[in-house]
Subunit: 467 residues, 3 copies
Amino acid sequence: MERPRHQGMAKNTCMRWRLPLVCLLWEVAMIVLFGVFVRFGAEADAHWEEEKREMNLTSDIENDFYFRYPSFQDVHVMIFVGFGFLMTFLKRYGFGAVGFNFLLAAFGIQWALLMQGWFHSFKNGKILIGVENLINADFCVGSVCIAFGAILGKTSPIQLLVMTLFQVTLFSVNEYILLNLLHVKDAGGSMTIHTFGAYFGLTVTRILYRPNLEQSKDKQGSMYHSDLFAMIGTLYLWMYWPSFNSAISDHGDAQHRSAINTYCSLAACVLTTMAFSSMLQKKGKLDMVHIQNATLAGGVAVGTSAEMMLTPYGSLIVGSISGIVSTVGYVYFTPFLESRLHIQDTCGIHNLHAMPGLIGGIVGAITAAAATEDVYGKEGFIKAFDFTGVYQTRTPSIQGGFQAAGIVVSLLMAFAGGAIVGGILKLPIWGDAAAENCFEDDVYWEVPEDEESDSYHMHNPDKPASP
Amino acid sequence: MERPRHQGMAKNTCMRWRLPLVCLLWEVAMIVLFGVFVRFGAEADAHWEEEKREMNLTSDIENDFYFRYPSFQDVHVMIFVGFGFLMTFLKRYGFGAVGFNFLLAAFGIQWALLMQGWFHSFKNGKILIGVENLINADFCVGSVCIAFGAILGKTSPIQLLVMTLFQVTLFSVNEYILLNLLHVKDAGGSMTIHTFGAYFGLTVTRILYRPNLEQSKDKQGSMYHSDLFAMIGTLYLWMYWPSFNSAISDHGDAQHRSAINTYCSLAACVLTTMAFSSMLQKKGKLDMVHIQNATLAGGVAVGTSAEMMLTPYGSLIVGSISGIVSTVGYVYFTPFLESRLHIQDTCGIHNLHAMPGLIGGIVGAITAAAATEDVYGKEGFIKAFDFTGVYQTRTPSIQGGFQAAGIVVSLLMAFAGGAIVGGILKLPIWGDAAAENCFEDDVYWEVPEDEESDSYHMHNPDKPASP
Amino acid sequence: MERPRHQGMAKNTCMRWRLPLVCLLWEVAMIVLFGVFVRFGAEADAHWEEEKREMNLTSDIENDFYFRYPSFQDVHVMIFVGFGFLMTFLKRYGFGAVGFNFLLAAFGIQWALLMQGWFHSFKNGKILIGVENLINADFCVGSVCIAFGAILGKTSPIQLLVMTLFQVTLFSVNEYILLNLLHVKDAGGSMTIHTFGAYFGLTVTRILYRPNLEQSKDKQGSMYHSDLFAMIGTLYLWMYWPSFNSAISDHGDAQHRSAINTYCSLAACVLTTMAFSSMLQKKGKLDMVHIQNATLAGGVAVGTSAEMMLTPYGSLIVGSISGIVSTVGYVYFTPFLESRLHIQDTCGIHNLHAMPGLIGGIVGAITAAAATEDVYGKEGFIKAFDFTGVYQTRTPSIQGGFQAAGIVVSLLMAFAGGAIVGGILKLPIWGDAAAENCFEDDVYWEVPEDEESDSYHMHNPDKPASP
């Protein structure tokens, strides 16, 4: 199979020194910063025995670990297997999908622990971490995985690391503005994770627009088994989404409620996705692209409101609508975005994360604005929206307004941040591939030359049938 | 690859209007019914703060969420990834296996929440749901996934939805009879889920008998990678079965015991399956069909008794036997059922669910009948069998009798229900494919035309070698 | 495809009577031994109600089940899906990888429950088991899965069962020496699981050295989709490793801390692995072998110290170093071991388990020796190292010395045990395949003759193109 490839001629995609340099420098920086700043929180520190006595806790089971660790592991699976395998649908980009997702997420969680730590867990000059920080770091990286979906197959690993660095930073700032300054509720991250992550990624891919991408059009499709690999990602995202939306909710009823709302929303979403997938195809056949993606929109769309008293039927309504919007998006919006707006969105994150994220933010604002003491109970009302201290006087309708403001801020941060980061990624030093080599693992990976690869070339009309 | 296919001539399999209509009407009905009936249970409601005080609970960790949520997620994975991928073993039906399983399960859990809710969680005109309801809904749908295994590759998605609608209904009635009227114990569902689901499915497939199915015989086998995909399903079912059998057991020792018994039974089952798989083949080679399926029989066969004092060695015995019965079933019974009784059982659910389910029911009856206060302790005895209120005077041997009656009721419900539903599914309006198009994703799915597909046709003797 | 194969001529690999005999005899022995010895521990026994009252426990949530079951399930997934799929990277040995791993692990956990039970849970003539025993049995079998990695593709299933029998026995003895006699801490098993398991396996593969193995060199590589299957294994090991290292730590802060340290170590490890994988290839392309394996070294290397006050930055350092060592090992050591020392290490366990295991043991010794009451708190210090009873007077530096002794003992047990077991496995009665049939599922499995297989042969230059 010694067949000349032209990638080297057009662009220098060799990572040999650039990638190691970035990774190693970065890891050294992490070690130094962790050394200076990061310590165990009280519940993970060996002094916990004393802490327990001071707090009058009678049992180790009161450690936050037991409230959140199972949810953390589910979220962890969503980030690494869920997002990683969801993107393996491309016929020759499976290594890049799983491998680069692995790289950027492992890179990002370290930086997220620091960034989020400085904003939220900083005490006496130290960042004190526990299981909730791990979940939040995974969440933050989730928004990068979403953005990765838009540029999948078109960027070098270094570009992904640079984007991760900036996006995690901006995510943390945006999150701080929403949660701390605007006092917005967003446990499942419809705004902070999905809306921000998706519009950030869409802006980046717009800036990186490749006019000649049709040169690799034949590789932008899936093959039979790559679609099955992608379904592994889909199902793990779908199944564990109740854990995602409930992972950092308040202990007790809030976690419980978030899981139920998300479960209901996702179930409804599958039905409307299947319905519209069939309806919008000439022959009525189902399209795996929709099943792999739009079925998840229900999880995104209750991200903000799942911990509120959305109620099961409210969740069904939100899930149903988001499945329809997402599927319609794949059929009509994605081609439009590409041809008219020059937004090349490989995975269709506009349909899975951007629009459902907006829906989620809006539903959250409405649900908050409609909250009453009658529905929540007096104590439950205060606890659910954290109307204590300076927020004691906030009313539901004001809260709804702030929730809506949170959407706007997230959008502005995403557009501005995406534009800047897109500009940085356009510099010709990052080693991205030429248009004809996009969506091809061969550029950055040692790829085994197997039978499938043989037969691939064999049936490729414009290449000779055999060596 | 524009090659004429004949499916359209024989039967109209186009789903374009039928499937969307069914899905959307159904989802609207669900929204209305949930709106009228379904509310959060006390532990998921924002009033939980007050509830906690009334019940003198000092910690949020007492919320049922923390007792059951990890098990719920394991069960959830079993239903969607476990059953879904287990059925991907067919070489060209992976989309249908995973995708239709996804569709029917998402459809079924909503209806199950209502049906089971009316029977078990109905208070003051409302169904109050919590994490246990989610588990039970997944369980109920599990019985549909089992039945799906018998008709895999031979039915349209609409037929599956119709079957789901009726089977969930009948399941809930049968479950109510067993658990409430007969006061039978069946935490892991040997009777309610496996025996009922399997004989229901076998009856349906008998009614839907296709005399010309050998026309698609070449597609009924597996291929190398489809067998590996199926092993993902197998292993997740196998690993999480201890969670399945313990998910709705009483808090404390009962959950703990169920998990241990199931773990032991499954371990033994693997060994006897491997032994008989090798022994029953002329050349002594292992057969993936057995490894994928019969290794799971041990989980089915302790479904009723796992929460009882079956003991670890009792579990090993039950697991060993069920592995043998199941493997022998695949080698001898399945061909017999097909040729003599005209029962075409695609996945061999008779061997994996029906026979082990019966074993499970019987073992449960014996274990219950053999219970003594000595073994359980005075309090443990009452708690384990819930011998309180009107059941205060029930003795172990009477309980054993009722357990046995539960098997019979489940069988009768399965046969009667399966016959009726099979009859309904025989109507010529549901869009099922002709015999020569069974086990082929192409009928209902947009299938990428990839290399494998090419080479598939290339080596297909009765088709031209290249376009 | 009736093509003569020569395996039968060289060696008798037929398992028809040998494998069933071993499996069935063994299972009968297990049933008898479990019948005599194994009973439910107090927390899984129906007498738990009385136990609870005696121990003044007010809630069922205090049952160890709720502290450890989620971690147990994660470990369970690591053993069966993690190790099983990690080894599917070979192009034609996926059935053997997943299937034999399944067989030996199911076989081993039963024997481990007994062996470890006699050493650690033996009371009044009975072994009393609970969820912690299940975790420990899985751990023990983990060391066999590691050793399996060295001999993957070169042994018969019977050899694997014989090895499992002996290795579990020796593991339990070694573990007893370390934990009970030396009073060493090793919650994540850097020494007991990884160092022991890996050097045991390497010794066995050295004894079983096959001089003509290059005859099956073409099957020792991966193919595109087998590499993706392997990534499923990799990611589940990587994601759940925090559960592995924390599963049997003390309740409360120790479990919490172990998870955080492991999370940090693994994140760092991914970055240095990617860096060196790219750096050490001529063209700077990433190698899936490294990504699949070396990224996990960080979990191994904090196995001993994760529950100690290693601190997050300490974890980053350990993870970074182990990723480098492991990747360098794959590039330079593995070829050296094979050509010079005749150690044929199929999966490179020397790089993933042996060296990182040693690092883990050493880091554990240093961390223990450096412990102070200031860092741990007075009570925390005693609790962390269990300095009670006869160990009341042990100082950190003495503990460090014992930890180091634990490494040496594990190594000696591994070399001696591996040599003996390797000798036993060399007997010509176990049905292993000839060198030219290694790494080939066809020998022990019914393999579907699918398209890929066809095209495989088609492109195989020394075979005719079509039947």
